[in-house]
């Protein structure tokens, strides 16, 4: 496992905060990834910026992984069912709940939104509970 200490975690967090600030200050948009993707897959012409943002994310990932990273990011063994079931629930839930970790977490809390605070507390609780059930009750390694 990569030895990431709290300093690199903090640097990562600050970069994400700066990204959200930049998008709001210049374009007036919320850097919520689920919302950006949901708008992008509607394929309307005014929403091209969403695809450009996603392209930027991938370029940022490439720049980190193949340029700046001190060691490669570990890739866990393939767990197709966890990806398919988990990914479906993440897509369904973030659309229903109007946001994810970035939209409600980073941006919503930044705007001091009560809706976002409720969402963050709710998804953190169910995520922690799910990992508890999967790892400690069912003892599955996914």
């Amino acid at each position: 496992m990569a030895n990431v200490n709290w300093v690199t975690a903090l640097i990562g967090g600050v970069l994400i905060g700066l990204s959200a600030t930049l998008l709001l200050a210049f374009n007036g948009r919320i850097a919520g990834i689920s919302g950006i993707v949901n708008g992008a897959i509607a394929f309307s012409k005014q929403e091209v910026w969403r695809w450009i943002f996603i392209l930027g994310m991938l370029l940022g990932g490439i720049l980190y992984e193949y340029g700046l990273a001190s060691q490669p990011t570990p890739t866990a063994t393939l767990t197709p069912w966890a990806m398919i079931i988990g990914g479906f629930l993440v897509g369904f839930g973030t659309r229903m709940g109007s946001g994810c970790t970035s939209g409600h977490g980073v941006c919503g809390l930044g705007r001091l939104s009560m809706r976002s605070l409720v969402a963050v507390i709710t998804f953190m609780m169910t995520a922690i509970l799910t990992v508890f059930v999967v790892r400690h009750l069912l003892q599955l390694s996914i």
Binding site: A2, G17, A20, G60, A82, L89, A119, I128
Partner: protein, 137 residues
């Protein structure tokens, strides 16, 4: 054009941040969510760092009459805590706990040349479109 450049730059910073914080390592995220196991607390600094920046910076930004390159701020208008918000967030959390990816890291992890993020992104889009179709009926 200027707006598109900002979108690119903002996306780039976001992807870099997810790399440095190692949110793109799903086992690390699951380790953070595993409070009953060998809890990995480092990801607290990711959310902590990001939210500290936005809480401070958004105060100033939202005092601007309008965004620098746009006519108005596009902000969520809903204020009430309704059922879709809570149920949706709960479902999202369950999915996150199962796969270890939330949307940003799942997409950025596509660069790791591994099948997991590809399956995640396809399933994410399917889940999102399923809710959209159900809610429009």
């Amino acid at each position: 054009m200027k707006e598109k450049l900002i979108a690119l730059l903002s996306g780039l910073l976001f992807g870099l941040g997810l790399g440095f914080s190692q949110m793109i390592d799903r086992q690390r995220v699951l380790g953070f969510l595993d409070v009953a196991g060998a809890w990995d607390s480092t990801l607290l600094f990711v959310l902590g760092g990001a939210v500290t920046v936005t809480v401070i910076a958004f105060r100033f930004v939202l005092r601007l009459p309008h965004p620098i390159f746009a006519d108005k701020f596009n902000l969520p208008t809903k204020k009430d805590i309704d059922k879709p918000l809570v149920i949706g967030a709960a479902i999202f959390g369950i999915g996150w706990g199962i796969c270890g990816y939330c949307p940003g890291p799942g997409i950025t992890a596509l660069v790791l040349r591994n099948w997991n993020p590809i399956l995640f992104v396809v399933a994410f889009v399917a889940g999102s479109l399923t809710y959209k179709n159900l809610s429009e009926k």
